[in-house]
């Protein structure tokens, strides 16, 4: 029996572990913001990486791994939780308690931001988080969300407009992006 399969398996294992190390935190955080619950996010990440392991051979280029994982994650979220979601208590407040900043002012600022991000409609929240957590370009976001580039840019524009309105309410009203834009 040839030893080649062992080498292949080891290479696959190493490649998989490198992907886990490089990306699991971003994937978990994106999962958290998709379902807004830590337990569900962890399940989603487990399912995502299990599917990634099974189909790792189909990933031709490791540079595309992040977009590939985020796409799997979105598909798993749709399959598992968009149509039905167990009645769990959201633990956003617990996440805030556990997080790194301990100063009350910092926590308050982050609580406001959490609430503002979480309250964005999904259509706006998803591309924004893909941009700020994933670091994806507009074109990459369009591919992940299966939208055209103009729609993505419009949704990003509106997402920031809504957040800016929350955090800079005294800004010049002329600069609020409320006018309708074609998607």
């Amino acid at each position: 029996m040839s030893d080649t399969p062992v080498l292949d398996d080891r290479q696959k294992q190493q490649r998989y572990e490198s992907l886990v190390d490089a990306l699991y935190q971003d994937v978990y955080r994106y999962a958290y913001w998709l379902c807004k619950n830590g337990a569900l996010a962890e399940d989603l990440v487990q399912e995502t990486f299990l599917r990634a392991w099974r189909s790792l051979d189909s990933l031709q280029n490791d540079k595309a791994a992040k977009a590939w994982l985020f796409t799997i994650l979105r598909r798993e979220n749709a399959r598992l939780y968009e149509r039905y979601r167990p009645d769990l208590v959201d633990i956003e407040d617990q996440s805030l308690m556990d997080s790194i900043d301990n100063e009350p002012d910092q926590r308050m600022d982050r609580k406001l931001l959490h609430d503002a991000i979480a309250s964005l409609e999904k259509d706006y929240r998803e591309p924004l988080l893909l941009q700020v957590i994933g670091g994806f370009s507009g074109k990459e976001i369009a591919e992940i969300l299966d939208l055209n580039n103009n729609t993505v840019m419009t949704r990003l524009f509106r997402a920031r407009g809504k957040l800016k309105h929350v955090f800079f309410p005294d800004g010049n009203p002329d600069e609020d992006p409320d006018e309708p834009l074609d998607e």
Partner: protein, 244 residues
């Protein structure tokens, strides 16, 4: 670049490094102010989005899920495992009255393994502290699989904790319901696929249960070893109706 175009691009991506965009910002103090404000907002949003604590051992657990598959593929081990598996199967066939009397087909045995693999994967979702879910919620999932549960006294006594669409059989719709049993979680799965050739037992080192041909598909009931399962079989056989 006019003001409208600049604002569209600034709000869509304040980190845009395109020289034309940066020049448009630098040429006008008001544009610079808006861009700085948006970049500051982005920094705060990014920090907040990344402040979610990631479970400390998550990476280890993700790697551990892949590792056993790697280990079992060592060629040296493969032959021993194949022999061991044959012995286990032979001993199991001799000692297991459920399998001996049922004479499941090869396809049934594969389904047996798929069922156990699925239950092992899905059981990690189960949290005994969850509140009960309603029959309406369960039926919304069962309807996707082509059936429903009638409300009756036995159903009212059950503690349903989870219900979700189930992909245990490829290209077949199914529903996976989890209840609180006396030993832990009990999985009740109804799947609209080819019925198994005969009723037979499911068992491994942790779980025990049964696969039962059930009208338009199969009924699968699996719990921890020593969990009394007849009550769940009675419940489904009494209250479940296919609506295909």
């Amino acid at each position: 670049m006019d003001d409208l175009e600049f604002r569209k691009r600034a709000f869509a991506n304040p980190q845009d490094q395109d020289p034309e965009f940066l020049a448009a910002a630098a040429a006008n103090p008001e544009r610079s102010r808006v861009l700085s404000q948006l970049q500051a907002l982005d920094a705060r949003v990014g920090k907040a989005a990344r402040s979610i604590p990631v479970p400390a051992d998550l990476a280890t657990r993700l790697k551990a899920r892949a590792a056993p598959a790697h280990e079992t593929r060592k060629p040296g081990m493969r032959r021993y495992l194949a022999v061991a598996a044959s012995l286990v199967l032979a001993i199991g066939l001799v000692l297991s009255p459920g399998l001996i009397t049922a004479r499941p087909s090869a396809a049934d045995l594969k389904f047996h393994d798929d069922v156990l693999g699925h239950v092992h994967r899905e059981i990690s979702r189960y949290n005994p502290g969850l509140a009960d879910i309603s029959l309406t919620q369960i039926n919304s999932v069962l309807e996707e699989a082509g059936g429903h549960l009638r409300d009756d006294e036995q159903i009212k006594k059950m503690h349903f904790k989870f219900a979700n669409g189930c992909n245990i059989a490829q290209n077949s719709k199914g529903a996976h319901i989890v209840l609180n049993g006396s030993k832990g979680a009990v999985s009740v799965i109804v799947v609209h696929n080819s019925p198994v050739s005969t009723r037979f037992d499911v068992t491994d080192s942790r779980f025990a249960g049964k696969i039962i041909p059930f009208g338009e598909g199969n009924l699968i009931i699996v719990g921890e070893k020593d969990e009394p399962l007849n009550v769940y079989e009675d419940m489904i056989e009494t209250a479940f109706e296919w609506s295909l």
